[in-house]
């Protein structure tokens, strides 16, 4: 059974924006919002670090509970998706989300303005249907992680990405704690 998650390695992220541009392109997200935001802590000071913020595809997603029209759901593979046909743009989900993942655009196609958009693990793009009215559903293939310049952002099955992260952190531990 897969369970899709992200890991963000703050010891590698350099705020290059690769994830941002990759997501924009893959999902056609309009100008004023982004499914992935890079936040810098302590800019210009010692300890400066960059964190990428997206939907974290929570196991018990508060947004799903908050949505009054049941427009958000969690799939069996762990991915939290939203249905823009149902969304009424009330922004309750943003009250509930601990990360500020849901966004409400002012630009882009008129019928989608104010309608919630967020990271779908690249499964559903910004416009969830194509020009024939057919819904688009893609294989989970997070472009932000695939394109991450430094491999700071890992996305995929939780057991796999945590294993990758384990390997990396083990190296750091050997160096810092054990001093080998």
């Amino acid at each position: 059974m897969v369970n899709y998650k992200f890991v963000h390695d703050k010891e590698r992220c350099i705020r290059c924006g690769g994830c941002f541009a990759a997501c924009k392109q893959q999902n056609g997200v309009p100008e004023d919002i982004s499914r992935i935001n890079i936040v810098t802590i302590d800019e210009g000071k010692s300890g400066e670090r960059h964190i990428t913020m997206t939907c974290m595809h929570c196991n018990d997603p508060p947004c799903v509970r908050a949505c009054p029209v049941k427009g958000i759901s969690k799939r069996e593979d762990g991915i939290v998706i939203n249905d823009k046909d149902k969304c009424i743009g009330c922004e309750y989900c943003s009250w509930a989300c601990p990360f500020g993942a849901p966004k409400y655009p002012d630009t882009g196609p008129a019928e989608l303005r104010g309608i919630m958009d967020k990271c779908t693990f690249c499964v559903i793009p910004y416009e969830q249907t194509d020009e024939y009215g057919t819904s688009i559903l893609r294989a989970p293939n997070p472009k932000c992680a695939g394109f991450c310049a430094t491999k700071a952002r890992l996305g995929g099955d939780a057991s796999e990405i945590t294993a990758t992260y384990n390997e990396r952190v083990a190296g750091r531990l050997v160096e810092r704690q054990i001093g080998v």
Binding site: E11, C16, R75, T129, L137, R138, N141, F147, A149, K151
Partner: protein, 928 residues
């Protein structure tokens, strides 16, 4: 490796009917609301839905290619649907980037598809832009160039640019100028790494990065000295982090607390322009503590005593006074780099763009030799080149002082060799003799201009503006051809603007109209030729680590744009030397390069081998870049030059004498003219079993005549004898060429110095005429002091890169993704400076220097200290506060425009190469 995670996924879009989709999500929602974790009806595998696909399947084509921004050389896959480039996918097992790319790379499709592209040739007539046909445009350009050639001579045209072009296009550009009959051709390497080339070439024998990016994983210490790789070369940091996780230390010395500095174990902030003093402080401490590699120094270098003598006065305390760095910090940095080996030194423009740039590089190279790092995996000199193919274009010598492969223009022998190559190559039908080639050139005072170094891109405008008698060529420059060249990257922009207004014709060849079309205040005489982007044609490109990769066409040129090759061919026809350009394919040009470019070993990188590597990329081990088994068994990724024969694996680490040459081993060059003051240097310069044979003059050690070896026999012989064709020499810690003023580096204050009393002790050079123009060193430095600039302009201004933009940024400032990330020009100032002048974050300010002023946003940050300000250099389209948006062709107004730091930058130049001193100027900041 991290990438495995993502490789499990397929990438195809699955479409399903609206009804099915709704049913699925509803179930999922219900499950989640009921508090049960997830019982969605979503089944394993997505194939199930394919049967309900309603839309016709698009004809999808996937092409692997190479990023055309920086020189890391990241690979990616372009997805083309029904002929439209819709998406990109990571090239997950690409040995260099493992799929990773920065924002510029991931915006490549966005840039290519930009609606602001130049769609057809245009001409400015009577103040308005008009569409013209290709035929008319080329006729106009060719007629004017021919007319100038006839009346003023070929030197009255200046060609520049092409840094993003392939090796083949660069070679064609240089050949084009050779046949036109001028050395007035230059490109951006002049203002990015010309000092690296001069410094390293005169120390080691080659002017390039001595490692590959992949090799960075092997280092035990990365010393960033003049590089902000996290912004300038993001994917380079992937390798740095791998090393860090294996215990490597990261040290960053920079005037600014950069994003790279934020990831360092140790950061020191030093004064812009005090680089040599800083490096000498380190060497002083290293020698004081006996941390040098005595055996290495003994066996592999020449001139150590001179260095010892030179550094002895640079004690940490003296260095503290010059650099503003506490003496203990200097000691600490020295200990980290000396005790964690192999360590390297990594630089970019921070080290190169100085009036002592070549000497800063020399000092860096000396440091590496003294520590014995030079030639080690992960150690050595790491000048990260800027543009995607600036290494290749440098190698193909779109430069006013070299011919392709670093054959000096001042030697007739170089021209003789090229006359032969142009005639003998099976790739073209043209024939030309040495005398015919020479006759293409003008003469001055009875001497042929063929063997005279041309103008540098940093000073070309002086060829227009200075009185004819003051420049070393027959007549002023009357036309300029900007072939993918950003005018905003050159300092003294006001003079450049004036020159662009004065010439008869400005030709701009570019995928975008660029800010150059808007800068000159003129109503006629600008022709814009729409060039294809690098994603719309193919050819080989060389990474910063000398690796040749084949860049493939993702889509054919959009609109009416044409490839550079086509434009060269058409223009050459009209100028009367088309028979030297009648190549059938770009691969034909590669083959001509394989034939001609010998000193740096370009014999092994045939189109066939490059393409074979591209097919078999997965067989290369990302740890050392070497193929283990498969069709490329034993080859290094990209066949890094020198690659002496088609059986040679490439040379990943220059000067590595531990590996056999046929396994990628190498050594320092043996060909040095003995210093006049040491005519019997002998064994001190050449080592190993190469007997000094001389060439008649009795002073040159050079056993193998590899540079003029049309059959390749010489290379074969050298390799059979176990030697690199360039011989086995020593690293020249003291420059052999007695024409260098400083044969061992010494600190000299920048042209505009904030410290007049240091100028008294460490003055700059005497004024000097070179590259056809008088250049003021001492005069300008003294003028600065006389005008009290250190008082009137109390802040040191430095410049650099933003990750989202690139070079002059004609491409990136036209990409909506990148502009969303980085929309406006700014100056970074310290909170204290901001508060003192009453400015809040993002207010407008004027940044003023003795040259002019810029109106930009204030970015209030502690990245810079109170004495320093920083501005990115990518911006143009606004000139001293005036927005030029009305001057562009209507459809081509750049999406984001900003004032250019190079309007106010220093008029300092490097004493060897005419590199501009963009990293140190004096300024003041006022509320706007």
């Amino acid at each position: 490796m991290a990438t495995k995670t993502n490789s499990i996924f397929g990438g195809s879009d699955i479409k399903l009917s609206r009804r099915t989709f709704t049913k699925l999500t509803a179930l999922g929602t219900a499950a989640a609301l009921s508090g049960i974790n997830s019982v969605s009806a979503y089944p394993e595998g997505l194939e199930l839905f394919e049967e309900v696909t309603a839309a016709p399947a698009a004809a999808t084509n996937k092409v692997k290619s190479i990023c055309s921004f920086c020189s890391v050389g990241c690979g990616y896959t372009g997805v083309v649907e029904d002929g439209v480039w819709t998406k990109m996918e990571p090239w997950e097992d690409h040995p260099i980037n493992l799929g990773g790319m920065c924002s510029k790379g991931t915006a490549l499709a966005n840039v290519t598809n930009s609606p602001r592209r130049l769609r057809y040739p245009m001409e400015k007539v009577g103040g308005t832009w008009r569409k013209i046909s290709w035929d008319a445009a080329l006729d106009k350009v060719a007629n004017k160039l021919n007319e100038i050639r006839d009346t003023d001579g070929p030197d009255s045209v200046f060609f520049c640019g092409l840094v993003h072009g392939s090796n083949e296009e660069a070679y064609m550009f240089r050949k084009f100028a050779m046949l036109f009959g001028t050395n007035n051709i230059d490109h951006q390497a002049r203002i990015c790494h010309s000092t690296t080339v001069a410094g390293l070439l005169n120390t080691f024998g080659h002017g390039a990065m001595t490692n590959t990016v992949i090799a960075m994983q092997h280092a035990k210490c990365h010393f960033f000295f003049g590089s902000n790789a996290a912004e300038a070369h993001p994917v380079f940091m992937q390798k740095v982090f791998v090393a860090k996780e294996r215990g490597a230390k990261i040290v960053v010395a920079d005037p600014r607390f950069t994003r790279t500095a934020a990831m360092a174990d140790k950061f020191v902030r030093f004064r812009p322009g005090s680089d040599i003093a800083f490096l000498y402080g380190l060497i002083n401490v290293i020698l004081e503590n006996g941390w040098e590699d005595t055996e290495y120094v003994e066996n592999r270098t020449y001139g150590f005593e001179y260095v010892k003598e030179a550094v002895k006065d640079y004690t940490p305390e003296v260095v503290e006074r010059i650099t503003w760095v506490p003496a203990d910090d200097i000691r600490e940095v020295a200990s980290i780099i000396a005790l964690n080996k192999p360590s390297n030194i990594i630089w970019s423009m921070g080290a190169t763009q100085h009036s002592v740039g070549s000497q800063i590089i020399r000092a860096s190279a000396i440091l590496q030799c003294i520590l014995g790092n030079q030639g080690e995996w992960g150690g050595g000199c790491v000048p990260i080149r800027g543009h995607c193919n600036v290494q290749g274009v440098t190698d193909m010598c779109v430069l006013s002082h070299f011919l392709p492969g670093y054959y000096g223009v001042t030697s007739e022998g170089s021209w003789d060799w090229y006359a032969k190559c142009f005639s003998d190559t099976p790739s073209t039908s043209g024939k030309i003799t040495f005398d015919e080639l020479k006759a293409r050139f003008d003469t001055l005072n009875g001497e042929s201009m063929m063997t005279k170094i041309g103008f540098a891109v940093s000073r070309w405008y002086e060829g227009v503006l200075k009185p004819e008698a003051e420049i070393d060529q027959p007549h002023n420059i009357k036309a300029v051809v900007l072939w993918g060249e950003a005018t905003s990257s050159v300092t003294e922009m006001k003079r450049e603007k004036e020159a662009m207004e004065k010439v008869d014709l400005v030709v701009i060849v570019d995928p975008f109209p660029t800010s150059a079309s808007a800068m000159p205040d003129r109503s006629d005489g600008i022709i814009l030729l729409p060039a294809a982007t690098r994603q719309e044609n193919s050819g080989s490109v060389t990474t910063t680590g000398r690796e040749w990769q084949w860049r493939d066409t993702i889509i054919p040129p959009l609109y009416e744009s044409k490839t550079d090759m086509w434009i060269f061919q058409e223009l050459a026809k009209k100028l009367g030397f088309g028979d030297h350009f009648d190549y059938n394919s770009i691969e034909d040009v590669t083959r001509e390069i394989n034939l001609a470019v010998r000193p740096i070993g370009c014999q092994g990188q045939t189109p066939e081998r490059m393409k074979r590597q591209k097919e078999n990329y997965h067989t290369f081990d990302p740890w050392d870049g070497r193929a283990k088994g498969g069709p490329c068994d034993g080859e290094y990724w990209g066949l890094p030059w020198p690659c002496w024969t088609t059986d040679h694996p490439g040379t990943p680490i220059l000067y590595n004498d531990k590996a056999p040459v046929m396994e990628g081993g190498h050594d320092f060059r043996a060909k040095w003219k003995y210093p006049d003051d040491e005519p019997n240097a002998g064994e001190e310069i050449v080592r190993g079993n190469l007997p000094p044979t001389g060439d008649g003059s009795g002073t040159i050690h050079w056993t193998y005549n590899y540079a003029k070896d049309p059959t390749g026999e010489v290379n074969e012989q050298a390799l059979a004898e176990g030697n690199p064709p360039t011989g086995r020499g020593r690293a020249m810690l003291r420059v052999a060429n007695t024409k260098w003023v400083d044969r061992v580096p010494k600190h000299r204050e920048p042209i505009e110095s904030p410290e007049p009393d240091l100028v008294a002790t460490y003055p700059t050079y005497e004024d000097k005429k070179f590259y056809r123009v008088m250049t003021e060193f001492k005069t300008e430095q003294q003028r600065s002091i006389a005008e009290n600039r250190h008082v009137n302009y109390p802040i040191v201004l430095t410049s650099g890169r933003q990750v989202e933009h690139h070079g002059g940024s004609a491409q990136t400032r036209n990409s909506d993704y990148l502009v969303q990330l980085q929309p406006e020009m700014y100056v970074e100032i310290n909170p204290k400076v901001a508060n003192d002048i009453g400015v809040k974050h993002w207010d407008f300010v004027w940044v003023k220097s003795a040259r002019g002023q810029c109106k930009v946003r204030a970015y209030v940050t502690e990245r810079v200290n109170e004495k320093t300000a920083f501005m990115p250099y990518h911006w143009a389209g606004v000139f001293e506060g005036q927005d030029y948006k009305d001057r562009y062709p209507t459809d081509g107004v750049e999406l984001a425009r900003g004032d250019s730091v190079n309007i106010i930058a220093s008029p300092g130049y490097d004493e060897q190469t005419q590199m501009q001193e963009t990293k140190v100027a004096l300024c003041k900041i006022e509320k706007a």
